[in-house]
Assembly symmetry: C2
Homo-oligomer: 237 residues x 2
Amino acid sequence: MARRAGTTVQDRIVELIHDRELLPGAPMPTEPQLMDLLGASRNSVREAIRALQALGIVEIRHGYGTFVGRASLDVLTPSLTFRVRTGPGGGIRALHDLVEVRELLETGLIGDVVGTVSEARFAALDALVNGMAHDPGADRAFHALLYEGCGNELVLQLIGMFWDVYHEVGGVLAPPEDRTAQTVANHRRIVDALRSRDRDTAREAMRLHFRDVKQRIARGLSSSVERQPQPELAADR
Amino acid sequence: MARRAGTTVQDRIVELIHDRELLPGAPMPTEPQLMDLLGASRNSVREAIRALQALGIVEIRHGYGTFVGRASLDVLTPSLTFRVRTGPGGGIRALHDLVEVRELLETGLIGDVVGTVSEARFAALDALVNGMAHDPGADRAFHALLYEGCGNELVLQLIGMFWDVYHEVGGVLAPPEDRTAQTVANHRRIVDALRSRDRDTAREAMRLHFRDVKQRIARGLSSSVERQPQPELAADR
DNA sequence: CCTCATTTGTCCGTATGTATT
DNA sequence: TAATACATACGGACAAATGAG
């Protein structure tokens, strides 16, 4: 039926994008066009496109058309969120791992950007720290702004994605617990360290920030395990 | 029709997994069951499941059933590969960013594992270095084995995924170019540094390893740009 | 504002291939 | 081997959304 047996419709659509050298934003062939291009039924084409949409490889606009996507990492957020939530121990272990990866990335990056922060950026960072008490998005913006100048788009999206997942699943596990004062202090220490232009000081400030986050997770562990002894393998079907 | 208007079939299936506390490996309801559970047709259910499969949230076994997945990161490899390949400049920039993230992770991790490597692990690492000349998978196994003991499953999968993407798209951009001698030397230097139990030495050895990789990418840039002046936005449709 | 063509979204019915028992 | 349960695939039809005239 298909050109080759081992090649799925999904893969052949990706091949088509590469062969025609379609760039993100370019219009994809319509469903009927793909049907006779690939020799598949409409349902098969649609299912393949749905999978590609989930991966951010195409974007679908109802009633208008399908377009090549940019495979931004934030489409993978549901996958990571699910992975963390269904991890062993109710996800606390996975959440800890997640924060540790963020720490690894940010403690490494902070050494690269120290000394390259302009006065205008310092002002913006200060403003974000001040607004952190009432604006829940200031934290995310702070970390994004820190590494904006390093020119690595991938690591920026990775850190943003990890932030999203952490706050999404963290809200499910152990809600409020007001810690704004400590959070503000931790971030202010990072800015101060950057102002000192000293690499090791900046790294240490970043480590302290994440030490607090990890402590918060460990606390959430003891309060969420109490009513979840051991979720057995699901029985009914 | 649906319980709420703004909630998609896909999201409601994920809700269902969480509500029933289904763990990875547990059987999902069959398609007919999902149809009347969600009040949707077979096609809608199937398309939603396809998207969830692409994200690794469910696993489909043909002729047998659908099961809860573990959302392993390697299902996201096609997305990252696509992102790199369609990046600006034919993907060399994105490839550089990718390797830089790997460097960030591994130079940070190597400091954590130094001093925790047993004699048996040293022997295994030596064997992998020796086999690196003819076994193409030894490189990947080497980096995986390095951080196996740190207990962070997420970072292990991340490094593995980045390795896969790098070699997959790297093969498309700038093929062979024999560099095994240098590669072997770089990895042997890492093992030697670990034997010295010195954190800074190990980090430096890791940095040298990635300096070579990044140089190789820069070389691939000059040889692939020559016949790709400026790919315009796609015109025909 | 309305109409129209285009495109994606949903649904139905049916037939076929596949793995388990 | 046979039966059963399941996913896979196909074709046709209508609904909903978008953009152009």
